[in-house]
């Protein structure tokens, strides 16, 4: 791959990576496994980029590769767990990510603003969950409360963020 193609791919990947990462996570709700798959996706994209038809959008191509690798990883790692989606629903999930609509962009822009409105205790809990990748039962052990309580706290925190983003999303769309 020449330098120009490398730069083109870097740009396309930078734009698409958040969406592809989310799509993989929807199939594999485990950060580490999903991030491993994400890196495999990037490797395949590098290897196969010569075959990419530049006249077509990049994101669907990347999502297609991500889908195959995510499903393969699921088969390898979690043979006995049932995939949440049927093929039809998975198609719909993939299509929804392909659209990469304004709401997703709004989330990215507004998340930090909305996080700034959360109490410190909530932020700490989110750090436990997302930075340290503690599942609710693990966080419950650390915090000395029940797993159900952690689940409820996490849910309330995310609901608050979702409401905040919804409330402010119109502003971001106007910025576009």
């Amino acid at each position: 791959m020449d330098q120009r193609a490398s730069e083109q791919l870097a740009r396309l990947w930078t734009e698409s990576q958040p969406v592809v990462a989310s799509f993989v996570l929807s199939v594999i709700p485990d950060f580490h496994q999903a991030e491993d798959v994400l890196q495999q996706v990037a490797v395949v994209l590098v290897r196969e980029f010569d075959r990419f038809d530049a006249s077509k959008p990049f994101l669907p191509w990347a999502l297609g590769i991500a889908r195959n690798l995510a499903l393969k990883s699921r088969r390898d790692v979690a043979r006995h767990s049932k995939l949440l989606f049927s093929d039809v629903v998975l198609d719909q999930v993939q299509s929804a990510f392909e659209e990469n609509d304004d709401t997703l962009l709004a989330m990215r822009k507004l998340l930090r603003h909305c996080l700034g409105q959360q109490p410190q205790k909530v932020l700490e809990l989110l750090q436990w969950r997302y930075a340290h990748d503690l599942k609710p039962n693990e966080a419950a052990q650390r915090m000395g409360i029940t797993s159900g309580a952690v689940r409820a706290m996490l849910h309330r925190a995310r609901e608050a963020l979702r409401k905040c983003i919804r409330r402010n999303a119109q502003v971001v769309v106007e910025w576009k």
Binding site: T14, V19, V46
Partner: protein
């Protein structure tokens, strides 16, 4: 129902969904495509929270850098996050995001080629060798990846076996004491990852470092993805490591690279480089190893010689030309008068030095101002305010960044204490950092690694910014110009117009000049106080209340870099 399904989605993403919940969620999603879209938004938020939390962890490290704490970071020996690459090769910076991931795959291929006993990264030390004692002695403006570096920070502690350093940006110095009195000083330049094996042997996963060694009775070894670098005696060298290649530049002394793979075409797997020479070893995805020999390039590394090699010969003619162009302010940094950098054009807009990290730097070609001489804040600020910059203005300066990092060179801000300076910027000229491997949607510069950035605020809630398409150089003097001309803004790099944007709206009055970092120290701000610290030098900074013409800018560059050809579109600074 929606609240319940929202909880179900959260449970699914938290790995806490039981089978009956899964059935309910499955049925709900199959019932209506709109539900799928809602599910997608939940997942997207989940992922964004992950990125935010990792970025927050990194941000906390800034405070450590501000305090200049000696720091030790550790990571699990079971380091399963694949290595990401850094590179001083400017063209490669843009590709690092992909290369990082591709490189990890290559790493696994290489690992498979190592002898079984050596797999897992735990390589036995040479016979008779003792473990190193490594200490992180200084950190300058470092952003650390705490998510990957799991140990707590400990001021003055040693870096222990099994621990690792994941440096996203900045420079850290590590000292290694050897058993027989030998010493190694390693200067780590982010982005970089290094571990210490169970035997205390340093292993560079990716990134670049500069080392100076005094090993009269010792042998210093350092592992790279492709082989082990061995140094004995006195030596000075630079190493750039990625998963698929290693560059070894020997500036003085001798070093050997012992390849993990068998030698090229059956030859020896021990490659020796003497002072002034370099080795470039590359392995492709098929496992084929190629070796190139060349001259060492010290300018690519942070050695004292490299930092002083680039010259900025400012002639009287250049100064006269700038004065004739009638800038509003012109700081030449020829002398330090009680910490004041004088404006040559009038008795206003003199800039005060604040913080320990800024100093006046006398040199062979006259003075300059140097930032980042220590960790923590260091900047120049004017007490007077500029009131005459409106629709058109120009900021022209020469800069020599010490390394790739996110630093603010020059800004105009509408600020007076005790108000918070956050949000008071009206114009910013800055350099972007390297790809750190941890991008954040809130740091737009992450998507322009190694680029020059000019921001002009043309609306109350929206900035317009220009980026250079090519990276700036490090350790070389370069000419940066930011021009605002009525409805356009232009960015010039070494006399070449590199980006233009539409930007309507005048600057307000009452602007203060700030150089060297994004925000002045203020009681109103906390951890942001030292963000975007510039490390490097500035010289010949001029501000005009008009838009300089293209040929004027080129002429200014030619006065300092006369080897530029009239027809040459791209003006190159110092040759490498």
């Amino acid at each position: 129902m929606e609240v319940n399904t929202s909880q179900l989605i959260d449970d699914y993403l938290d790995g806490a969904l039981d089978e009956s919940g899964a059935e309910r969620l499955r049925a709900w999603m199959e019932a209506d495509p709109k539900h799928v879209r809602l599910f997608v938004r939940h997942v997207y938020l989940h992922r964004q929270l992950r990125e935010w939390s990792l970025a927050e962890n990194v941000g906390k490290c800034l405070e450590v850098g501000e305090l200049r704490e000696e720091s030790v970071l550790a990571v699990s020996p079971d380091e399963r996050r694949p290595a990401r690459r850094g590179s001083w090769s400017y063209g490669a910076v843009a590709c690092a995001l992909l290369g990082a991931v591709a490189g990890s795959w290559v790493t696994w291929q290489i690992a498979a080629q190592r002898p079984v006993a050596e797999r897992g990264g735990m390589v036995a030390p040479p016979a008779g060798a003792a473990p190193y004692v490594a200490t992180l002695v200084s950190v300058t403006n470092c952003r650390w990846d705490q998510a990957r570096s799991t140990a707590a920070l400990a001021s003055g502690s040693s870096v222990r076996s099994g621990e690792s350093l994941h440096l996203l940006e900045g420079v850290a110095e590590m000292s290694c004491a050897l058993q027989n009195g030998g010493m190694a000083s390693l200067q780590l330049e982010g982005p970089l990852a290094m571990t210490l094996s169970s035997h205390g042997m340093p292993s560079l996963l990716y990134g670049q470092l500069t080392g100076s060694f005094t090993c009269d009775y010792d042998e210093f070894t350092l592992d790279t993805p492709l082989g082990r670098v061995v140094v004995s005696g006195d030596a000075s060298l630079g190493i750039i490591a990625a998963a698929h290649k290693v560059d070894l530049h020997v500036f003085s002394g001798t070093a050997t690279l012992e390849l993990w793979a068998t030698g090229v075409r059956g030859g020896s797997n021990q490659l020796t480089a003497a002072g002034g020479t370099s080795l470039n070893v590359h392995i492709d995805t098929e496992g084929n190893v190629s070796v190139n020999h060349g001259e060492s390039q010290e300018s690519g590394f942070m050695t004292p010689a490299a930092l002083t090699a680039s010259r900025l010969p400012i002639s009287d003619e250049y100064v006269a030309t700038i004065l004739d162009a009638k800038p509003v302010a012109y700081w030449r940094f020829e002398r330090d008068v009680d910490g004041l950098m004088r404006n040559e054009m009038s008795d206003r807009f003199h800039c005060r030095m604040n913080g320990n990290a800024v100093r006046w730097h006398p040199g062979q070609d006259g003075g300059s101002v140097e930032f980042g001489t220590t960790g923590g804040p260091g900047y120049l600020i004017s007490d007077d305010t500029l009131d005459i910059l409106t629709d058109s203005y120009t900021v022209e300066l020469w800069a020599k960044p010490s390394y790739f990092h996110h630093g603010t060179l020059f800004s105009l801000l509408q600020w007076h204490a005790p108000q918070s300076p956050i949000g008071s910027h009206r114009m910013v000229l800055e350099i972007c950092g390297p790809i750190s491997g941890l991008t954040s949607p809130f740091r737009t510069t992450d998507f322009h690694p190694g680029r020059l950035r000019f921001i002009h605020e043309c609306r109350t809630r929206f900035d317009v910014d220009c980026f250079s398409p090519d990276p700036y150089s490090v350790r070389h003097w370069q000419h940066f110009v930011a021009v605002k001309a009525l409805s356009q803004m232009h960015l010039y790099l070494n006399g070449r117009l590199v980006d233009s944007k539409e930007a309507t709206g005048p600057l307000p009055s009452g602007l203060r000049v700030l150089m060297g970092q994004l925000l002045p120290v203020s009681p109103q701000i906390e951890d942001e106080v030292t963000s975007r610290l510039y490390s490097g030098e500035l010289d010949e900074v001029a501000v005009y209340d008009r838009a300089l013409a293209d040929d004027e800018i080129r002429h200014h560059v030619k006065l300092v870099r006369p080897n530029i050809k009239a027809t040459e579109e791209q003006v190159i600074g110092d040759p490498r």
